[in-house]
Symmetry: C2
Subunit: 118 residues, 2 copies
Amino acid sequence: MADYRALTLEVMDLVGDKWTLLVVYVLGEGPLRFSDLRRRTAPISQKMLTQTLRQLERHGMVTRTVLPTAPPQVEYALADLGRSFLAAASVVCAWTRDNIDALEAARTRSDAAAGEKG
Amino acid sequence: MADYRALTLEVMDLVGDKWTLLVVYVLGEGPLRFSDLRRRTAPISQKMLTQTLRQLERHGMVTRTVLPTAPPQVEYALADLGRSFLAAASVVCAWTRDNIDALEAARTRSDAAAGEKG
DNA sequence: CCGCATCCACGATGATACTG
DNA sequence: CAGTATCATCGTGGATGCGG
């Protein structure tokens, strides 16, 4: 694993958007229609959800299925690639959950130190 | 792991910046002075490197040591928390490396399909 | 050498209105 | 319900010059 540059930039291209990770996580629980997905990812805007889904679809992480109903419904689901990715991303989320106290403590300490010399 | 919202947003707060992941990776190889670090993370700007390092320092992931030399030198190194995080982040990078072909294929296919209806 | 301050360009994000 | 279009806004990131 030598070429950090290309690799980390690729990672940022995948999940650099603000909501991508959250959307992948929510879809990990099962397929959802657009509206339901939006409720679960609130307060995301309609536009950003669409945009995020398009990106995920483009990368083959998510599938989009238009149901032949009236009014039309569109179902989004994780593709195999997406599920595989979710497993990897879960490691980072688990790490964050396990270290959230240390992170907050560091932040508080750092912010307090910065405030003193104000 | 139910509270995706807070967790994923926290993750984005940690590594949402464009260069954070790369900086952490490079520092994973060993402590570096500012200039060396910048060379290794090119084409990052001075400003963004400083900003990224401040954030990492604030979260307790990186330590900053001013060496008593003339001219002054500043050495940055991963703290324990940072090393621990790097291990988790490596999983995502490894996944990306292993699936880079599938990702690029999906992108190419998707872009081609989009181009046809132009 | 380190890195802060300022100005500036651009993209990402978001609110709103509108279409199928 | 799903999605597009438009406009306003904010943060990110870059260029440059100055100070320790």
